[in-house]
């Protein structure tokens, strides 16, 4: 399989303190990679390094290289990079506008669409892809702040699909949701695998085992182990990994 993202010797620092240390990971095309690990293990920092959201923070610095299709992302135009690597946050963040506007917002700003009928097509397609269309098609013009948390999170996924990215990053996307909404979001994620490469950070070990092809275990800013999900959960090579996935860990 082709590698979509290659991370070479990445080090990340906050206030000069190392939070992620000499990291090497390859992520294959159309693969779902889960990142698991306890709090403060550097999972989210890693995720936000991939679309350079970390770079917004003045206290952050980094060393190393990340390649997207053989292009070093640190030399790429920031807007282009984020267009190609979409990101879903832990809490649903609908923008303060209608459901419809939420989806066409980025395509409009990026100049991807020109007329109303194109917009309509994109909105319908994106909402269908996350199976939200039937739930909201009657009230596309009402505020996105008024739908339920699970619906908002799926709307946020739809918003990312509308700019047609290549990679989607999920940062604990179900941490604020109930089990039923979680199941729906997970369904969407598995569905998305056919078209996109996915990196999923999660606190929920079972979620990682349910949806991902590969799983990486982070601890204290280091990659401890990465392997096929089936293999990692059945016969982990490292003691720490085993302790964590069996719940024997703090």
């Amino acid at each position: 399989m082709v590698d979509k993202i290659k991370v070479e010797n990445l080090n990340c620092y906050y206030n000069k303190q190392c939070v992620l240390e000499s990291l090497n990971i390859n992520i294959a095309q159309n693969e779902i990679l889960s990142i698991i690990g306890p709090a403060n293990s550097g999972k989210t920092t890693f995720l936000r390094a991939l679309n350079r959201m970390n770079d917004l923070d003045a206290n952050y610095s980094r060393k190393g290289k990340i390649y997207l299709d053989d292009d070093n992302i640190f030399y790429m135009n920031m807007e282009n990079l984020r267009r190609r690597i979409g990101m879903l946050f832990a809490m649903p963040i609908p923008l303060p506008m209608s459901i419809y506007e939420n989806i066409v917002y980025a395509p409009k700003r990026l100049g991807l669409i020109s007329n109303k009928s194109e917009q309509d097509v994109i909105v319908e397609q994106a909402l269908k892809d996350v199976s939200l269309w039937d739930e909201v098609k009657g009230r596309l013009n009402s505020s996105a702040m008024k739908i339920s948390g699970g619906q908002q999170q799926r709307l946020c996924i739809a918003r990312i699909l509308a700019i047609n990215p290549e990679v989607i990053l999920f940062d604990e996307p179900c941490s604020g949701l109930d089990p039923i909404s979680t199941a729906k979001v997970e369904e969407s994620i598995i569905e998305l695998k056919r078209k996109y490469t996915i990196v999923l950070v999660t606190n929920n070990v079972k979620q990682a085992s349910r949806v991902s092809d590969k799983t990486a275990f982070f601890l204290m800013g280091k990659l401890i182990e990465i392997d096929k999900t089936g293999k990692l959960f059945v016969s982990p090579q490292e003691k720490q990994t085993e302790d964590y996935i069996t719940g024997r860990f703090g």
């Binding site: 990079l81 963040i93 303060p96 917002y105 700003r109």
Partner: protein, 284 residues
């Protein structure tokens, strides 16, 4: 000392607090009442639209009204765009380092510098050093310099009230920083910025000290021809006729105060209503 039961002491304290509140609110009502009661008889259409006569004891206050309007509008026109842009720069672009923090702190504190100090600066810089003379433009520049820290501070407050997560969400979709500001931050900060602007207009309309030596004229019974002319202004006119002119008819002074009060209060009430309205209908 008598020991009161907790219940009784609570009742007593509430009563005292209530009386204190009444004491704070009454002067406002009283001032408005006194001015309206004594001024309304002299407040005619003619009073608003004619020139002063008889050493200001008769006639109207048209030049003072127009003078105030021209100075205030020029000042807001100068200070609002610069102030809002500066707020955007400080809040959205400037790196969060020691220098930025010092600048932000300085600007907040400059808003508390007395207006008469700005008047002094206006006289020194615009009237004398830049040789603009006592004129509309010198007064407007003085007021705009005075109001700049206030505009920046309120605009920053409005920008800050837009959750940071909205910016992150927009940026993560590949939308550029300026477009994020233009389409997400500014529309949601606009109510706050506008309310602040209205309050600024109200505030500088009533300011006397900064224009005392930079723009205001004692008595000019005609309208200004250019921005380099001196003008009469409402607050200064009120000051003059209430302290410097002997045998001034009282109801004319009250009517002048009433006009000034109406201009300023209308705008303040507008701002208060706007703020309550926007708070109620805020989308998040």
């Amino acid at each position: 000392m008598i020991k009161l039961s907790p219940k009784l002491s609570q009742k007593l304290s509430y009563l005292i607090l209530f009386l204190a509140t009444i004491l704070a609110v009454i002067p406002v009502a009283l001032i408005v009442f006194i001015i309206v009661k004594n001024g309304v008889s002299a407040l005619t259409w003619e009073f608003l639209t004619s020139m002063p006569k008889d050493g200001m004891r008769g006639g109207g206050i048209l030049p003072a009204i127009l003078g105030t309007l021209s100075i205030v509008m020029s000042a807001i026109f100068l200070t609002l765009p610069i102030g809002v842009c500066a707020a955007i720069y400080l809040n959205e672009y400037a790196k969060d380092n020691l220098l930025t923090r010092i600048i932000k702190l300085a600007i907040v504190n400059l808003a508390g510098v007395p207006s008469v100090v700005y008047g002094l600066l206006g006289l020194g810089i615009f009237v004398m050093f830049l040789k603009l003379g006592v004129s509309i433009i010198a007064g407007a520049l003085t007021l705009s310099i005075m109001e700049l820290p206030v505009v920046i501070t309120t605009a920053r407050g409005a920008l800050n009230s837009v959750p940071y997560s909205f910016r992150e969400a927009s940026l993560s979709l590949g939308v550029s920083r300026w477009q994020t500001i233009r389409y997400i931050v500014l529309p949601n900060a606009l109510p706050g910025i506008l309310t602040g602007a209205i309050l600024s207009i109200a505030r500088i309309s009533g300011e006397t000290a900064p224009i005392l030596f930079t723009a205001a004229a004692f008595y000019i019974p005609y309208l200004p021809h250019s921005i380099f002319d001196q003008v009469m202004t409402l607050p200064y006119h009120l000051y003059i006729i209430s302290t410097q002119i002997p045998n001034m008819p009282k109801n004319v002074i009250f009517a002048t105060a009433l006009v000034l009060l109406m201009i300023v209060l209308t705008m303040s009430v507008l701002a208060i209503i706007a703020r309550i309205y926007f708070r109620k209908y805020r989308k998040w």
